[in-house]
């Protein structure tokens, strides 16, 4: 039984991992395509139809480039940086429920890698680890730009982590559980989506998620106009690739989280009224979930070409002076409203 269970999980992990990688790869293409669309140009279109093979070419190029480790760098840490970045990016998706259960005869397959009851804490913990990859890489490079970028990245991500945590607390007050599976399960249908009860929390969460992913307008750690390449200035070949990958995976996971926590995850309107079998509902649910994720990824890219980058002091001011008080206000508001509802209605 246990062996079968583990085998099943292994398969699931590999599938999800592959999907994650593919999405990350094609996000790069999407980014350029969307950029082109926004700026009224084509974007990459040579490799395959509409540049569909472009990500594969990029990937291949990463593999065949010379890897350079600067003489002054700390070799071990220099290599460890990107590996840690990719690991933390990849494992955070373990607790996300991709869908409900699939039943084949006797076997029931849960489309979630790990059903732990502290999923939110797990996510929170893994996100906090993300800063190590960047910090190690930046410090090990022994380059002023890298160090600067790494410090900025670290300080930015920890600043916004507080806002992130506080916004999640309001969500937890609504849901009453730390398990993401349960949180999603509670949002069945359409009116139960958490976004309706936590609009402010969602805005805070999104903002913080942008910052955690170092996405524009919060891409100060690698802003090319100031810091060349930021923390990965000295990186080349696949090590650079891993950093890139981890960023896009982070974006993917953040989108998944937003969709799962606030937009009902695999739930879609009228899902139980269509008279479909459970397996079909699950399959449609997975598709719905991924479309929500793609929508958020698009949103990420859309923002990139809409908002200009913040200055560092603006970034810090936003994080500490706006988001944290706002998040606390959100907690207070949520608490009072819920209790009034519970007491009087």
């Amino acid at each position: 039984m246990e062996t079968a269970f583990l085998l099943e999980k292994l398969i699931l992990v590999v599938v999800i991992f592959t999907i994650t990688l593919v999405i990350a790869m094609y996000s790069t293409l999407a980014e350029r395509k969307i950029a082109g669309f926004m700026q009224d140009r084509h974007g990459p279109d040579r490799a395959g139809a509409f540049g569909i093979l472009q990500p594969l070419c990029d990937g291949g190029k990463f593999f065949f480039k010379e890897e350079i480790i600067p003489a002054g760098a700390h070799k071990g840490l220099f290599i460890m940086g990107p590996v840690i970045a990719i690991i933390t990016a990849c494992i955070s998706s373990a607790v996300i429920p991709w869908g409900q259960t699939l039943t084949f005869g006797d076997t029931t397959i849960t489309l979630q890698v790990a059903e732990v009851n502290i999923g939110v804490l797990y996510i929170f913990g893994v996100i906090a680890l993300g800063v190590y990859g960047i910090m190690l890489g930046g410090w090990a490079s022994n380059n002023k730009f890298s160090l600067m970028g790494a410090i900025r990245a670290a300080s930015q991500s920890i600043s916004y982590e507080i806002g992130l945590g506080l916004s999640l607390i309001a969500l937890l007050m609504v849901t009453g559980t730390l398990s993401i599976g349960e949180i999603v399960a509670q949002q069945s249908g359409f009116v139960n989506w958490n976004i309706w009860s936590q609009p402010l929390g969602f805005i805070i969460f999104v903002t913080c998620a942008f910052a955690e992913c170092n996405r524009v307008p919060f891409d100060l750690p690698e802003c090319e106009t100031e810091l060349v390449g930021g923390y990965h200035t000295e990186y080349s070949s696949m090590k650079l690739g891993l950093y890139m990958f981890s960023e896009y995976i982070n974006m993917f996971v953040s989108s998944a989280l937003m969709a799962a926590l606030y937009f009902g995850g695999y739930n879609f309107p009228f899902m139980h009224d269509l008279g479909l079998s459970a397996n079909w509902i699950t399959i449609i649910g997975v598709l719905v979930f991924f479309s929500k994720i793609f929508a958020f990824i698009f949103f990420f890219m859309w923002i990139r070409w809409t908002l200009p980058r913040f200055r560092y002091d603006q970034l810090m001011r936003l994080g500490w002076k706006k988001l944290i008080p706002l998040a606390i206000a959100n907690i207070v508001l949520t608490g009072v409203i819920i209790l009034i509802k519970d007491t009087f209605f």
Binding site: F17, E66, A114, N117, I158, L339
Partner: protein
């Protein structure tokens, strides 16, 4: 839902897969890529200018301050998690208690702001 250590094993699997991917690619590029090294290539990049001094210099104390504040606030946030999950059971009394806690936190926060610990000039 009772959790057992066993529920965490899949996470280990995922960890193993991710680590395997990272390490494999690194080794792969190491084997595949060309190796034409010279001293110039191995110096750190400073926009083509001569490298001056060590990169690992003391940097602004503000970053450090942010880190310390993070450590403290993050711990306070951790305190709120168990409360938030069970917040309905605690009811109004629990709410007031947590508000007192947050009030104190907020007082500290305002103090920090007033002290200009978070102002970047």
């Amino acid at each position: 839902m009772e959790n057992t250590p066993f529920d965490y094993v899949p996470i280990l699997i995922q960890l193993a897969v991710a680590a395997g991917f990272g390490i494999t690619t690194i080794i792969g590029t190491h084997l595949l890529g060309p190796k034409v090294r010279n001293a110039n290539k191995l110096t750190s990049f400073e926009s083509g200018v001569e490298v001056i001094g060590n990169a690992r210099q003391p940097f602004s104390i503000k970053y450090f301050l942010v880190a310390i504040l993070f450590v403290i606030f993050d711990i306070e946030v951790i305190f709120m998690y168990p409360w938030a999950v069970n917040f309905r059971e605690f009811g109004w009394e629990g709410l007031v208690q947590m508000f007192v806690f947050m009030g104190l936190l907020l007082l500290g926060f305002i103090y920090i702001l007033k002290k200009k610990a978070l102002d970047w000039e």
